[in-house]
């Protein structure tokens, strides 16, 4: 989304375009120093620690049954939560863009709350509300549904924190939708469902996919809002970030580094996918406009 590149206009052999504006050296130095100290050197420490393990040792730690179970849970719950958000986030975005009703502005404002709410707060709130004696857990217990201290609780927590990503991605795409296309389809006799399938969905799918991927990426790394509600039983309700914390508490730095490296690679791949999706979306938008 950011960083328009005019690099193509650079002359060969030159790496910065001359300009009258001052401050290139100063801002490059400041940015570089901060990046190195806060991001690059610390991340390099993790990569080097992980890489200091012989490969079969790294592989053994990264694929031990407890780690595999944690990947399955982390990825599965994030996938499920992102899918729930894709469906309900779309409905909410549609409701906010298309309908006016009392409280619309209020609903629009609280969508961002999970962004601003510290994860420890949402964590203890969800765990308490969905506990068998809690406000909502009490209603679910007679139905035999236990949310707290089960994988279901993890899905609920990840759904909460992922929601704004989908709504805020889809909302502008729906708002920009060309009304004349729908009117044309309608006057040609298309049903509501056909208009949705063939006009609306294709136009907003890049935004929906981006929101889904952002929610998924956030869910995979999430820690604070999950650990209170998860139950944290090894092999069953233990997410990968928690397993890293447990290894650190046992002073197993190498084990923590190995799992940390796996997670870092996964987030890097997710980042590349999301960047590619945003490029796809930008090209779509550009093609229309």
């Amino acid at each position: 989304m950011i960083g328009g590149s005019a690099v193509a206009a650079l002359k060969p052999g030159r790496w910065v375009q001359p300009t009258v504006l001052p401050g290139f050296g100063l801002t490059l130095g400041t940015t570089g120093a901060f990046l190195a100290a806060v991001v690059l050197i610390p991340l390099a420490a993790l990569v080097l620690k992980g890489a200091s393990l012989p490969f079969d040792e790294f592989w053994r730690i990264a694929t031990e049954p407890r780690a595999l179970a944690s990947y399955r849970l982390t990825f599965g719950a994030s996938l499920l939560a992102a899918s729930l958000n894709a469906v309900f986030g779309f409905i909410i975005a549609w409701t906010l863009v298309r309908y006016s009703f009392p409280g619309r502005r209020f609903i629009d404002a609280i969508i961002d709350l999970p962004f601003a709410l510290p994860t420890a707060v949402s964590g203890i709130a969800l765990a308490t509300v969905f506990a068998p004696q809690g406000w909502l857990g009490r209603l679910l217990a007679p139905l035999g549904i236990q949310v707290a201290y089960s994988w279901l609780g993890i899905v609920v927590a990840l759904t909460l924190i992922g929601l704004p990503f989908v709504v805020r991605s889809v909302q502008p795409a729906l708002a920009e939708l060309d009304a004349t296309l729908e009117e044309a389809a309608e006057s040609l006799g298309a049903s509501r469902w056909m208009i949705f399938r063939s006009v609306i969905l294709p136009a907003v799918s890049p935004a929906l996919a981006t929101g889904f991927a952002l929610a998924l990426a956030r869910g995979i790394g999430e820690y604070g809002s999950v650990i209170f509600i998860a139950g944290n039983l090894p092999m069953r309700t233990e997410i990968t970030p928690l397993l890293i914390v447990i290894k650190l508490e046992q002073f197993d730095y190498l084990g923590a580094a190995a799992l940390g490296l796996v997670m870092l690679i996964v987030s890097f791949v997710m980042l590349l996918v999301i960047n590619a999706m945003q490029g796809w979306r930008a090209r779509r938008a550009g093609g229309r406009g």
Partner: protein, 297 residues
Amino acid sequence: MAGMHAAPRAEDRSLSGRLVRAAFIAISLAFLTIILVVPVVSVIGYAFSQGARFYFDALRTPDAVAAIKLTLLTAAIVVPLNTIFGIAAAWLIAKFDFRGKQLLVTIIDLPFSISPVIAGLVFVLLFGAQGWMGPWLQERNISIVFAFPGIVLATLLVTFPYVARELIPIMQMQGREPEEAAVSLGAGGWTTFVRVTLPSIRWALLYGIILCNARAMGEFGAVAVVSGHIRGSTTTMPLHVEILYNEYDLTGAFAVASLLMLLALVTMGAKTMIELYGSHRRRSAATLAAQTLGREP
């Protein structure tokens, strides 16, 4: 990112149209109530479940006061540093063309996509007892991990992109002409920044600072890894919430949590104000243009 949406278009008045509308509104409200509203309201409910006296006593315990102080101090160091970084990075990226710019933008965004636990882990591997610099630090009796500097570093990492992220699109939108004009009329770099650039980015800057502050005060995962959980000494407010919760002091945990929730609500209120005043139109224009232009040349 939000709140810049035009009034809804004319609505479908047919019966099926009204049914769909009612269903969509009902599903939206039900989903938000279960997943968001009830948990948020419950924080207040549980915090005051034993009365206002108990609530205020829970906030006055020495450990709670120490946690509040530590959180404020951490934010007081982290937010200015990330503001300096954000302004420098935005100036660099928006005002100059150089090779590797896209890569630089991607690296600045990186802390958004890594797990908070990883953000803490990297500093343990760097400065912890078995870390790369552990022995060197131990000889000199310097503790970074399980101490205040570690908390600051981990918080710096997770809040790193917030200010830069807000400034870069708006500074790119505004182009270079205003600054180029100022400089060619003889203004110095600092004067140009303060008199020409700053007035046009102040709302975005304020918004970035507020978001950075909210995350800095509320960060849990990264700080949990580096803090060591020493009560009254290395526990920030979110960690204090965790300790009280694990000791089954629910009312105390929710009392401290309610302060953090207040912070979130104030942050969102400030965001709404900023959108109403000043930058509303400009921000949405910047977002739209950035989406339309994309990153491809």
